[in-house]
């Protein structure tokens, strides 16, 4: 799915300007890094795409969906085509790794046999098949991140939104996760990845959009990490 953000401003009460007049067009199948300092508006931008946040001004469209106007049912359909990797994983602690992944398919009414097959495939892909019966508290940070990725991609989304997917991970694990995201992108999924990881951005060059105080200050094809907002 392509993403079209036109003149988006987001104000939080009482007077916090999270985003200001953001224009961004991301074609289908593109990999985009969102970089910027903490508080620059990266997470707000991602939450606009997941429609957890509504713009104060401007329009945002993803594929055929106008995110400003949609019914609860359309929102559910839209989110089925969207994979989200949360900064804090948001795994359900009482479910096993496998159940956490299968949960996504269960709640959208996929038949049990298909749930089993697709969950198995995706756990193999993220290298978590052997650890599938463990619960999140029994897994390391990297393993939890892999499960969160597996959950985000199990429904073959057209758009993947990842908020700091390599945060708190060692370099080696972060690289593995990055390889995984790139392989997902290679299969046609548009990827939005907010990150602070300079090494990854510089090592795996893709489009870079930098935010500074809610504004887009840089948009480069095959860009590097260095933040203009620092100066």
């Amino acid at each position: 799915m392509d993403v079209r953000i036109s003149g988006v401003t987001k104000l939080y009460e009482p007077d916090i300007r999270a985003l200001e007049d953001v224009y961004l067009t991301v074609p289908k199948g593109e990999f985009l890094y969102l970089v910027g300092k903490t508080g620059s508006g990266k997470t707000t931008l991602l939450r606009l795409i997941t429609r957890e946040v509504m713009p104060t001004k401007g329009q945002i469209a993803v594929g055929e969906y106008n995110l400003r106007k949609m019914s609860a049912f359309d929102l559910a359909l839209y989110r089925r085509d969207l994979g989200v990797i949360f900064q804090d994983f948001k795994l359900l602690p009482h479910l096993t790794a496998m159940e956490n992944v299968a949960f996504v398919l269960d709640v959208i009414g996929v038949p049990p046999a298909e749930v089993k097959e697709r969950t198995g495939e995706v756990l193999e892909r993220v290298g978590m098949w052997r650890r599938r019966f463990l619960r999140p508290p029994q897994l390391s940070g990297g393993e939890q991140q892999r499960i969160a990725i597996a959950r985000a991609i199990v429904n073959s989304p057209s758009l993947l939104v990842a908020d700091e997917p390599t945060g708190n991970l060692d370099t080696h694990t972060a690289e593995e996760i990055m390889q995984l995201l790139l392989s997902i992108n290679a299969s046609g999924t548009t990827v939005f990845m907010a990150t602070h990881n300079q090494f990854l951005v510089d090592a795996y060059r893709q489009r870079v959009v930098e935010l500074h105080m809610g504004r887009v200050v840089r948009d480069e094809k095959r860009g590097r990490y260095e933040l203009d907002g620092d100066f």
């Binding site: 939080y12 939450r47 997941t50 429609r51 957890e52 946040v53 509504m54 609860a72 049912f73 929102l75 559910a76 359909l77 839209y78 989110r79 089925r80 085509d81 969207l82 989200v84 948001k90 359900l92 949960f103 996504v104 269960d106 709640v107 959208i108 009414g109 996929v110 038949p111 049990p112 749930v115 959950r151 429904n155």
Partner: protein, 294 residues
Amino acid sequence: MGTFRYVLRDTNRLLFRHWGLSLLTLFTAVAVFFLVGSSALFMLNTRYLVARVESELLVQAYVKNEAQLQAVADKAQKIPGVASVRWVTTAEAMERLKARLKGHAQALTILGENPLPPSLEIRLVRAVLAPSVARELLAMPEVDDVIYAGGLADKLARVSRFATRFSMFVLVIAVTASALVLFNTIRISIYSRRDEIGVMLLVGATPTFVALPFVLQGMLLGMGGALGASLLIGGGYEALVRGVEATLPFVQLFRDPSMLLRLGLILLGGGITVGWISSWMAVERFIRRALRPM
């Protein structure tokens, strides 16, 4: 099929995850529906009693001359509210008196000539019409006097009206209490799973799908409460009727198995409906808030 299985599995999980709370809600629902059922039975019994008294209520019109009985009966039949008219000759009146006195009937011989007047026995459509029918009868020149137990009928009608109002009052209070308890139980269930619901909504579960297990939980608790209350009422009332029949044979309680079955079904339907509405209100509010973007 997958959805159906998931919803059932999840409902089961909800019911047993906080089993203490479920049990408490169930007991409360049983108590509340027991109260509703008992007050309905109280209302049915008072209505039954009034109906019996009404059906047995007679307006007795004493006629001056036996030869006029037929004519007065014809006129009485035309009075609005009169169901039937039967005439009683002086001889029949004497026979009845003798039958009532049984062994002491011989005492009547001292009366010599039969002093009992001829009369009409008039049954009414409704007991409350007795005063107006009596007035019309008294207006007839052939009628000497009119007697009826209208005061008793009026009092019973008032008791019946009170019983109906009392039952309605109990019904409203009990249903409100039950709805509140169920509403809070579902809210606690929702609260304990708020993270899960948040994730469900973020990965594309529809609001109906998210709500279904909670609604089913509410309906099952409401139904369980009503079922428990129905069984208690059924067993308890049967024992009460038997006890009253054995100790106070002149008191007849309402006894109609089909009506009792209907009462049980109404309670069951009420339990399911209250469970459905209160749980839907609780979960719908939560989902609406969760889906509302910031």
